[in-house]
């Protein structure tokens, strides 16, 4: 049952001189889903979003939004999309209301609509009290919410969120996540870029991991986790000296070689069901006493380390080449 994707790219390429931001990227975002584009700084995430939102021309390949080509039919694409980004692109010298009203007018909403829609959005993003204050007095979290509201003025079917929570504190991030989740339940397709693994895990139905301009893995958060070997038993022995014996005893039930780390035995397992009992039995047979045993599910951090050979970067702003 294949329906037309809301966003599709085929072999998308873009270089800035010698810097190859995108080296042939294929993406497919199903209508009504949340798609997470996950990658470290400079991976090419922002470049992909800028091409999809008609801000940048690709060097090669093609991209379409709601069936319209982003190069040949850019004007049609702009009518279908909303963009919110890491810069919180709102005018500091206007009030919250004036910002949204202006955006509504520039979307050519019918007379009277921009104002009504602005009030409506300010209220649903909990900004009514600040509606008539200049944005430069807003907190970081309020700016991001206003930025997201601005992206929603024309009720676009496809929303692009470029690192929507980069630089926000935990509370503001959670508030923004709630707002995004509420949107999705309304049927909007969302393409989200993030370098926060927990963000993709929480919000996205499907994830593409991108590194150095290439998609290096795709799937649901669950599929990606199982790709790094599923789950893992962490066993702490009463006598840490007997680690090597435990590794030998458990090798048969492991999906990959068990190893020692921080005084514990780590045992990658393909299937958690039954393996705890199995492990306990084998160690018992070998006469090795267990102090503690637990199962850990891999995080997307593990996925990332496994796929790219380097850890995801959590700190700092996106350092991608900007089009100046």
């Amino acid at each position: 049952m294949e329906s037309a994707p809301a966003v599709e790219t085929v072999g998308l390429r873009k270089s800035y001189g010698n810097v190859h931001a995108l080296r042939g990227v294929d993406l497919r975002v199903e209508s009504g889903s949340v798609f997470g584009l996950l990658g470290p700084n400079g991976a090419g995430k922002t470049t992909a979003v800028r091409i999809l939102t008609t801000l940048l021309l690709p060097d090669g390949g093609s991209a379409s939004v709601e069936g319209s080509d982003v190069v040949r039919n850019a004007a049609r694409v702009r009518e279908q999309i909303g963009l919110a980004g890491q810069y919180a692109a709102v005018d500091e010298n206007l009030t919250g209301f004036e910002n949204l009203d202006m955006v509504g007018r520039l979307y050519h909403l019918p007379r009277g609509q921009p104002g009504t829609r602005a009030r409506e959005l300010l209220s649903s993003f909990d900004l009514s009290d600040a509606a008539d204050r200049l944005v430069r007095t807003y907190s970081g979290g309020m700016r991001r919410r206003l930025d997201l509201a601005a992206a929603l003025v024309a009720r676009p079917p496809v929303l692009f969120l470029d690192e929507p929570t980069t630089g926000l504190d935990i509370r503001s991030r959670i508030e923004l996540w709630d707002a995004i989740e509420a949107l999705v339940s309304g049927g909007t397709t969302v393409l989200l870029t993030t370098q926060y693994l927990d963000e993709a895990d929480r919000l996205a139905d499907a994830i593409a991991v991108i590194d150095q301009g290439l998609v290096i893995a795709e799937g649901t958060p669950r599929e990606l986790k199982s790709q790094v070997g599923g789950e893992r038993l962490d066993i702490h022995l009463c006598d840490e000296q007997r680690g090597d014996e435990a590794v030998a005893a458990l090798a048969a039930i492991a999906s990959d070689r068990p190893f020692l780390e921080d005084g514990s035995v780590r045992v990658p397992v393909a299937e958690r069901r039954g393996t705890i009992a199995d492990a306990v039995r084998r160690l018992d047979d070998a006469g090795i006493a267990i102090d503690d045993i637990s199962v850990s599910s891999p995080t997307l951090d593990d996925v990332f380390l496994n796929l790219t050979g380097h850890a995801a970067e959590h700190e700092g702003e996106e350092a991608e080449v900007q089009s100046r």
């Binding site: 800035y16 800028r50 939102t53 008609t54 801000l55 940048l56 021309l57 004007a75 702009r78 009518e79 999309i81 963009l83 980004g85 810069y87 919180a88 692109a89 709102v90 005018d91 500091e92 010298n93 206007l94 004036e98 202006m102 955006v103 007018r105 520039l106 979307y107 050519h108 200049l134 601005a150 089009s323 100046r324």
Partner: protein
């Protein structure tokens, strides 16, 4: 037809945005009011006594010149605004909207016309208070004011280009003033050209800014205009014809690199 209607409405929406900024940024408001007033007072009362302008009171000589200079710099808001929009990512928001693309530029430059009118009112009022007199016909005064507004509009496009070419509002400030300040001073705006050293005189005489100042002086003071009005008009139109397309080109490049 629809495209034209949207083009006009988008321009007006963005001109309004550009204007709303001014009263909300005290430094800009100072730049448009107190600063030119101070300049007028400094020149008239500090330098004026030392500058001899045969046949004219210095205040009559100065006001048209200093007003042309202020009008030229009025477009600075456009440079500041555009480089700020670039830096803060607002240009991306505008470019992702289904609006007329050039409206960001036409809106800003149109907004400048309104600030220029405001500048004219402030500066003529101060001038009249300290002894400036219009000594020409109403028709000439009106023509002079229209010429001033056209000059201001032309330099808004110069500033649009500067703003789109600089990496920050501070940089556009530095570029704008470094380039335009000497040009406005090596002219007939503040002193008669024939008091300058002989090697400098030809430069000052053929400075387009001198034509503009001489044209304003002729139209407001009822002096013989010679070719000054026509030359000023031709230069002004030429500046628009060069810098409007250049800015539009730069804006597309900044966008679609």
């Amino acid at each position: 037809m629809k495209a034209l209607r949207y083009g006009i409405s988008d321009t007006l929406v963005l001109a309004k945005r550009s204007l709303l900024r001014i009263p909300r940024q005290p430094d800009l408001l100072v730049g448009f009011t107190i600063q030119p007033i101070l300049f007028i007072l400094l020149f008239v009362y500090v330098f004026g006594g030392a500058i001899s302008t045969p046949g004219l009171d210095y205040v009559d000589f100065l006001i048209p010149g200093i007003i042309v200079q202020s009008i030229v710099f009025g477009g600075f808001v456009t440079a500041l605004g555009l480089s700020d929009d670039l830096k803060k990512g607002l240009i991306d928001r505008f470019r992702s909207l289904p609006m007329t693309r050039s409206a960001l530029l036409t809106g800003r430059t149109l907004g400048d016309v309104a600030t220029n009118i405001f500048q004219l009112v402030v500066m003529f009022s101060v001038g009249l208070l300290i002894g400036f007199n219009f000594s020409s016909s109403v028709g000439e005064v009106v023509a002079g004011i229209l010429l001033l507004l056209l000059i201001g509009y032309a330099f808004s496009w110069v500033f649009a280009f500067i703003g789109l070419s600089s990496s920050s509002p501070e940089a556009s400030n530095a570029y704008g003033f470094t380039i335009l300040f000497p040009i406005t001073f090596v002219s007939s705006a503040f002193v008669p050209v024939d008091t300058m050293p002989s090697w400098l005189q030809p430069i000052a005489e053929h400075n387009p800014f001198t034509y503009m100042v001489n044209a304003a002086r002729a139209l407001f003071l009822g002096l013989p205009a010679g070719d000054n009005v026509w030359l000023a008009l031709v230069w002004t139109l030429a500046i628009i014809a060069v810098f409007a397309p250049l800015s539009a080109w730069k804006y597309r490049r900044v966008v679609a690199q």
